[in-house]
């Protein structure tokens, strides 16, 4: 399945190029754009970016896999990322992970069968003062309790 930026994204890409003295620097923003467009970084999209940026596909691949936030395979629609780091641990993050595992019926690193949710445990999200917390796609959900979690997930279709 070949990949191409939408017309709008193509314009955004051109704008990225103007921001940097070298093309390669547009790679991270371009990967975000790919993920926005199709939810994950497919091999075809990496070959496409290689062509746009005058790089080899290996260049794209090595960069994309270094960072945890680029999805290298399709995942559930709502990516639940529970902070599992030190300060959240002090405020009960393990309980949140266990609760979500039970509620969604998946292990950490898995998507629900209906592809609605994907559960990850991640490192410090910079929200230690409102721990325990989680990020779902772009949004932070803080000061979690089991009730709050139920409410949040209920709203996500």
């Amino acid at each position: 399945m070949s990949f191409e930026f939408t017309t709008e994204n193509k314009k955004k890409f051109e704008d990225f190029l103007r921001r940097y003295p070298q093309k390669k620097a547009a790679l991270l923003p371009s990967l975000w754009l790919v993920q926005e467009q199709q939810g994950w970084i497919s091999p075809e999209s990496m070959e496409y970016l290689a062509g746009l940026l005058d790089l080899t596909p290996a260049h794209i691949f090595e960069t994309a896999t270094f960072y945890t936030m680029y999805n290298m395979k399709p995942i559930g629609k709502h990516h639940i990322q529970v902070c599992n780091s030190i300060c959240c641990c002090l405020r009960g993050s393990e309980g949140v992970v266990q609760y979500l595992k039970k509620k969604l019926g998946v292990n950490v690193g898995e998507s629900t069968a209906d592809k609605r949710f994907h559960l990850s445990a991640v490192e410090c999200l910079g929200s230690c003062g409102t721990a325990p917390m989680m990020q779902i796609n772009d949004d932070y959900y803080e000061d979690l309790t089991e009730e709050k979690i139920d409410q949040i997930l209920e709203k996500l279709k």
């Binding site: 975000w32 270094f66 680029y70």
Partner: protein, 421 residues
């Protein structure tokens, strides 16, 4: 105490340019365009401002490292990678007063001769990124950015560059690798970024909080800033307080505030009526303090250093007396194992090994020799044995926890399980 950074956080819509301007935002620009870049640097030097990202390096001195005879483009990078566990203050500045950040960047860029500057913002901070995008748009529209700012002849573009989930990109040379489109690999120093940084050009990397202090310094003078705080730690510090306290959050305190005062008066004391067992004052990458040590230490660079830890990024977390330190060390070492970039041998292999030993001790399968082993492994990664100081950041908490709470580790091993249940 006069608030410098959080002065207008309580103001509704301080994010909006029109509101921020009413509260003095961008008023320093007229002043700097009447100064030479060198004069701006001197003012910052006089302030005694030290980096707020964790290393505490003198900001004015850093700016002065740009070679005088440089003919290449100069870049200012705002390090908004904020990923040190316990730290969330830069996010607060961006969400509450984004224009302060932009103003600080304009002054810094002018001082070092940068016409293109970047905010390297961690990928997870989507809301702060949105807020800053909006603020940048407003700044451009008002003529504070772009060509010929306020008729000064000074051009400046500021762009945001999103990271994508890598703590190591907070290390300045790894940040540069990431900015340039590659893996976040730290680079061997020298050369230092001020000589050869982004695209081999002179580059200054400053933390968000550091840059946010600059407008005050210009508006009130370096001397005024120096009067605040302590001899070696001028100004205020944003402390990100979390853990077992009643009032977690971001607090601006004067440098030198005793930790005891901070906990009892600002943070509402330890939660649930419990007692302090340990305190990490400056982020996970340094040794913890026992209760006794914490009660004798102040929130400034020199006091924390004398206590064998660091003020670091001000990521301040408190552990109460029910905390299992072995468990906490497991979570700490897990963090470093996940975040090691993997470039050099000691850290790549050592980070995972240290985590495995810590986890094994916590699960009740530790052996007596494991404690000396941990210490020996740590001694093999620190102090120049690796490309960057990530390995030192990994080792210091391990060495610190073992030193301060060794009996807990021994008990875990002896009992074959966690005594805290």
């Amino acid at each position: 105490m006069e608030l410098i950074l959080s002065k207008n956080w309580h103001v509704p819509d301080q994010r909006k340019l029109s509101v921020a301007e009413k509260n003095g935002a961008y008023s320093s620009l007229k002043k700097i365009f009447g100064m030479t870049p060198l004069q701006v640097i001197e003012e910052v030097k006089a302030s005694g401002l030290r980096g707020r990202g964790g290393a505490g390096f003198a900001t004015g001195m850093k700016w002065g490292f740009i070679p005088k005879d440089n003919k290449k483009p100069v870049y200012l990078i705002n390090n908004f990678d904020e990923s040190e566990p316990g730290t969330f203050k830069d996010r607060m500045i961006a969400e509450k007063d984004p224009h302060m950040i932009i103003e600080g960047m304009i002054i810094a860029s002018y001082a070092i001769g940068a016409h293109t500057s970047y905010i390297y913002i961690r990928g997870e901070y989507h809301r702060p990124w949105e807020i800053l995008e909006e603020a940048l748009k407003e700044a451009y529209a008002k003529g504070y950015l772009g060509k010929n700012i306020l008729g000064s002849g000074f051009d400046l573009d500021i762009f945001q560059h999103r990271g994508a989930g890598a703590y190591i990109c907070g290390e300045e040379t790894a940040l540069l690798s990431s900015l340039e489109g590659g893996r976040g690999y730290p680079r061997i120093k020298p050369p230092f970024p001020a000589i050869a940084g982004a695209w081999a050009c002179p580059t200054i990397v400053n933390n968000v909080e550091t840059l946010s202090n600059i407008p005050y310094i210009i508006n009130n003078g370096g001397a005024a800033f120096k009067k605040i705080g302590t001899e070696k730690s001028a100004g205020t510090k944003l402390m990100s307080a979390s853990g077992h306290i009643n009032k977690p959050g971001v607090y601006e305190v004067e440098m030198g505030l005793p930790i005891r005062t901070f906990i009892e008066e600002h943070l509402g004391g330890v939660w649930k009526g419990r007692k302090v067992k340990g305190v990490v004052p400056g982020g996970s990458s340094f040794a913890p303090l026992t209760n006794d040590e914490a009660m004798r230490t102040n929130l400034d660079f020199e006091s924390c250093a004398a206590a064998g830890t660091s003020l670091g990024s001000g990521g301040f977390y408190v552990m109460d007396d029910t905390t299992c330190m072995v468990r906490l060390l497991q979570f700490t070492t897990k963090f470093y194992a996940h975040e090691s970039c993997g470039q050099c041998t000691p850290c790549r292999e050592g980070s995972g090994w240290i985590f495995k030993i810590a986890r094994r001790i916590e699960s009740g399968n530790g052996r007596e020799r494991d404690l000396n082993l941990l210490e020996d492994v740590c001694s093999n990664v620190v102090n120049g044995r690796t490309i960057c100081v990530f390995a030192d950041a990994m080792a210091m908490p391990v060495q610190g926890f073992l030193k301060k709470f060794r009996n807990e580790f021994e008990e875990h091993i002896r009992l074959g399980k966690c005594p805290h249940g």
